[in-house]
């Protein structure tokens, strides 16, 4: 769910652009609870794009529980010849944030400010 949320965010920003796993980043995020972790995680993925123009393609988690996330992030720098940006996202919000589990399948709803 955390992985798909991040890829969904990048999809909103950069559409169906083909993003390759050319560069590797690592990330450690502590949090106070599950919702906080999801917002902080997506905020990091957004930051990588907005500050460093790094587009996320794939994620490998080393640690993932309700209050800690350690991950390896694969992706590539934004390339105007290859990628087409669709939308600027200002921030990830807690507005009506919902994380649910049904029969072992986790779903999350996150509103972003655009």
């Amino acid at each position: 769910m955390y992985s798909n949320a991040a890829l969904g965010l990048i999809f909103v920003i950069a559409g169906t652009s083909k993003i390759e796993s050319l560069v590797e980043r690592t990330m450690t995020i502590p949090a106070i609870d599950r919702e906080n972790l999801l917002v902080r995680w997506l905020t990091e993925v957004l930051f990588l794009y907005d500050a460093e123009k790094f587009l996320t393609a794939a994620i490998e988690f080393e640690v993932l529980n309700d209050t800690l996330l350690k991950a390896k992030i694969l992706g590539e720098p934004f390339n105007a010849r290859k990628h087409k940006l669709r939308l600027d996202i200002k921030a990830i919000t807690y507005h009506q944030l919902k994380i649910e589990e049904h029969s072992g399948i986790w779903t999350a709803r996150v509103f972003v400010d655009i």
Binding site: N36, F47, D50, L87, D88, A91, T93, Y94, D113
Partner: protein, 472 residues
């Protein structure tokens, strides 16, 4: 109906509306606008704000109010400076998103033949659109100077003149700003975005003055019929967004320490006098300064375009106002308070020391941008706003349709054609961005402005119509 109608333009949300409300809510609207406001979560959000500790007066919403994140957009809330709280969400992600108006000495008929050339130049010279970087390369040290000095930094570096500063809220510099309280991450996001318009609802519009409601005040503001003016709407870009994000996180953790519980996490807040509260206010002021500098730089390029295409260098700054900000002010209700304006405009009346000396005898200009195909307004602040709304009024038309709904069944080409038929020429960086901002996506700005005028919390001075729009 849960709301108590006080008169034709005021609706009270009683404390019984929701558990924990410490003060009442008050919505400014007419019978039609209140129906639109009731459709989304605005009332609940105004009531949620009323549960915050140390709130004074009422939790307010302007007629352009619509659902936001935590706080409604179009909301005003004042906290007691000693016992109250500051909330990063009460200012919002786009800190000091605001509007400025520049007035030319050119008449509509003189500008019309050269409009396309003017728009092309503006579109080329003002960086806009998704992911667009600015044209200046700032070091982190230089960025700190921008954060400290705001519009003054821009003027010192050749973007505009000293006289511009007199016509900006706070003279374009919040002196409480401290760049040290802005995270390195926020600076990384904002460093290459200074002097960029951004996307979404941000714009540069070439307009003309269509109607004057108050001759005397319009004259003092330097406005007259058929005059070409330019309106610039932009904010603090990624830097401001990250400052809000950072402090929302910090406030969430700090709330545990201060024993504060909120009904919506997006309302995270801390005591104003706390270390976290003071740090946020210094960082917010720095982000606000970034936005003042940003609009100042875009004004400079606009002036250059006017000089090059219309052979006119006069483009006088009428005023620049913040729409998203928190400020310490003194009011008859509550005394010394921190006023959160989220999608609301300061509207101070005449004889207030905070307003420019040129406008001292008439009041502060209030700039209200409409949607793409409709009007924009210049209003002036009133005594009644001081008494009722902590010197605040509306900020625009307010969304009536989500961006997603606006895009459905909408073609950018058709929209551009329709606007052209109405005499409005558009240059947009993104087609989907354009359709999100189509006129029908917004409430009727004239209805919104009529409510604040009739309620007495601002007074109409002039109405403008766009003839050219640059969209991010």
């Amino acid at each position: 109906m849960i709301l108590k109608k006080l008169d034709d333009y005021r609706f009270v949300i009683p404390k019984s509306f929701q558990e924990g409300m410490k003060v009442e809510g008050l919505i400014y609207a007419n019978d039609e606008l209140i129906i639109a406001i009731e459709k989304d979560q605005t009332l609940t959000q105004v009531a949620n704000v009323a549960t915050l500790p140390g709130l004074v007066g009422r939790s307010l919403a302007m007629p352009d109010a619509h659902q936001g994140y935590g706080f409604a957009i179009g909301g005003v809330a004042a906290s007691d400076i000693e016992k109250g709280v500051v909330s990063a969400g009460g200012v919002g992600f786009d800190i000091n998103c605001g509007v400025r108006l520049l007035a030319s000495n050119i008449l509509l008929d003189e500008a019309k033949p050269k409009l396309d050339a003017l728009l092309n130049k503006l579109f080329r010279d003002i960086p806009c659109g998704t992911g667009k970087s600015g044209i200046i390369d700032l070091s982190f040290e230089q960025l700190d100077e921008v954060l400290k000095k705001g519009a003054s930094w821009a003027v010192e570096n050749g973007y505009g003149t000293l006289s511009d500063l007199d016509h900006i809220e706070e003279c374009g510099t919040l002196v409480s700003a401290d760049p040290k309280e802005v995270s390195h991450r926020a600076k990384q996001r904002g460093r290459d975005q200074l002097g960029t318009l951004g996307s979404g609802n941000h714009f540069v519009e070439v307009q003309y003055v269509k109607e004057i409601f108050d001759e005397e005040t319009a004259k003092v503001f330097g406005l007259h019929l058929d005059q070409i003016v330019v309106m610039i709407h932009s904010g603090s870009r990624g830097l401001g967004h990250q400052v809000c994000t950072d402090y929302l996180e910090e406030m969430q953790e700090a709330m545990l320490k201060y024993g504060i519980k909120v009904v919506d996490r997006q309302l995270a807040c801390v005591p104003i006098k706390s270390q976290e509260g003071q740090r946020y206010l210094k960082a917010m002021a720095a982000a606000a300064n970034f936005a003042f500098a940003n609009r100042q730089m875009m004004s400079h390029w606009t002036r250059q375009a006017f000089k090059s295409i219309l052979k006119s260098s006069e483009l006088r700054l009428v005023y620049d106002v913040a729409h998203n900000i928190a400020k310490e002010e003194t009011h008859s209700v509550g005394g010394r308070v921190l006023v959160h304006r989220k999608g609301a405009t300061r509207a101070f009346p005449k004889h207030r020391p905070e307003i420019p000396k040129d406008y001292f005898n008439v009041g502060q200009p209030v700039l209200i941008p409409g949607s793409m195909g409709t009007y924009s307004y210049v209003l002036v602040g009133t005594e009644r706003a001081m008494a009722e709304t902590f010197g605040s009024t509306c900020h625009g038309a307010g969304r009536a349709m989500s961006r997603h709904a606006a895009k459905r069944n909408a073609s950018a080409e058709e929209l551009i054609h329709q606007l052209k038929e109405k005499g409005i020429h558009v240059r947009g960086a993104s087609k989907s961005g354009l359709t999100e901002e189509k006129p029908e996506a917004y409430k009727d700005v004239s209805a919104v402005v009529d409510v604040v005028h009739n309620a007495g919390i601002a007074r109409k001075v002039a109405k403008m119509i766009p003839i050219g729009v640059i969209k991010g």
